[in-house]
Point group: C2
Chain length 376, copies 2
Amino acid sequence: VTRVAVLGAGLVGGLIARDLAAEPGFSVVAADLSQTRLDALEGVETRRADLSDTGEITRLARESDVVVGAVPGFLGPTVQRAVIEAGRPLADISFGPEDPLALDDLARERGVPAVVDCGVAPGLSNLFVGRSAAEMDEVAEAVIYVGGLPFRREWPYEYGVVFSPTDVIEEYVRPSRFRENGVEVERPALSERERIDFPRVGTLEAFNTDGLRTLLQTVDAPTLKEKTLRYPGHAERMQMLRDTGFFDRAPVRLGGVEVVPRELTEHLLFRSWKLPDGEEEYTVLRVRVTGTRAGRAVAQSWDLFDRTDVEGGDTSMARTTGFPCAIMTRHLASGRWNRAGVHPPETVGRDRELADAMIEDLRARGVEIVFREDDA
Amino acid sequence: VTRVAVLGAGLVGGLIARDLAAEPGFSVVAADLSQTRLDALEGVETRRADLSDTGEITRLARESDVVVGAVPGFLGPTVQRAVIEAGRPLADISFGPEDPLALDDLARERGVPAVVDCGVAPGLSNLFVGRSAAEMDEVAEAVIYVGGLPFRREWPYEYGVVFSPTDVIEEYVRPSRFRENGVEVERPALSERERIDFPRVGTLEAFNTDGLRTLLQTVDAPTLKEKTLRYPGHAERMQMLRDTGFFDRAPVRLGGVEVVPRELTEHLLFRSWKLPDGEEEYTVLRVRVTGTRAGRAVAQSWDLFDRTDVEGGDTSMARTTGFPCAIMTRHLASGRWNRAGVHPPETVGRDRELADAMIEDLRARGVEIVFREDDA
């Protein structure tokens, strides 16, 4: 039997635990500090654990053959280090601001394979870029468009989240770094808005956000970009809030009290953006990679579309983030991916056979992925 | 010599004091708590005074033949009552939420003439409605459009103020009361947006605000409306802030501290809306009154346009608010308007000869006013 520890049993961790528990021969333990979260997990063994405590992580890892990291971003580095130190393979989606490859030396030293940023974007976006790059002699350009949105468009934001708006607001503030014709550039978040039509959902608006992460280091292409997708107008409204100071972290003195504008804004947007129970949402991811193969210019595109699983009760946000990680975990457990070191998904994607198998596994779970190659 | 006391020496009070001090035979004293404000007033006698102190107001009034009330709204009732009690004629622009005619009985009892709401809107808007109504047998409809705007349109608000945004935000929150086909209605502020072209400034957007005040009591017409003018898009942005909760007065608990969203928003919009020194702005006021005269349907319209006096250094906001009050003060001083009681400007406007003289006095100060009558 393969013993799996899933660290973090939130919306995404819970889905990963359930997905893996359904695998014959797998014995899964889901760990979280919140008993409420654990109680919500049916058919999975649970363990109450403080995942900020290295000792607890080490214990859980040592009892397992493979570990999933699905904790909030701020706990990510602690969990990753403890699991690698314990010598256990790791699939991780704990998205944080740190360099995701920081523990590469440690993992090599310990002979442990770890795959990080293992969600949708970062995650599948990287996998698709790597899969396309593997077939090209040179990559000229890789462009990623990604967004998760509700079907129902409610004024003024036409947006909704199932978690706190903190990370989204941070995405709208942090300068966006990318590469353009061989030059590393930095532009403000929310800039360079362009409208793009998508077959299922109509016209969306794409704008700069800082999402390339490892791709800037691992992909040797003159142009690399990632843009976030929202309904048209959303980005302008966010820029208005940002420019007015509503996203400021510097406190303002009001009647003798220090107030951090961003905290109030998060509080108010949490109310405005909260997706009501049962509200259906979707994920779109479009990756376009151009380059040359045997002297011919080619363009490959990947179009992913996914929506709320109404019967299963899983949001598309959780599905597209959790499934890639659950699938990767199987390939770590089986030893199919056993390269020591910390690897981002684009490296996994360069293993064409493995990437294709992963894509088939996603399709089997109802995630639509359309691949297409054209002359460029 | 005619002794005038101007209570309040802010942007508007200061302009009124200077205007009156230039009148031959007038001796003007401007009173304010702020020495800085008083020091900025050239060529006018000044007096430091606490205008929240009834005793001080009474003293100043008793030393004068006529009094101007130009204090912040919250001090308005105190100043008005003390001046009327002291038996002195009053021209007032201290715009507050209270019923402006509340002291009518007291003024009649004391035999004192007082004209309130004596600015631009309320103020000239009322005067124009009264002047038109005086020529009609029946008034069918009176519609007022008014706005003060900077020439330079800076994203995202395309708006600017020379004072605090508090009153403006209050205007965007308070439900707008008006009359439509004989029915009193209440609609949300910022609603029923419509675009209107103005000759000097292009397309503006008009929306409901609560500005009719006394007109709802004094004008017997089935339809009465006032709308505020801004550049297109401003109202939608304000509605977004309002609907998200940024204008809420109910405190929100953030990290153990109570925060009033409106207070933070006022602080941030103060920075965003602050009109830089020397930035030119303008005022547009359009009043349209339709009705019948001797069985014929007629439509009268009043189009006012005014802009920053670059040489004199006065904003159009101060000019259009202060000049009507300064002019009214002269007619109170001369006894031309001596009717005991508290009167709004539409009542003064029904005195056609006086209204025409006041309009000429405004034109002499560079305020453009175009009158027009058509068959309706």
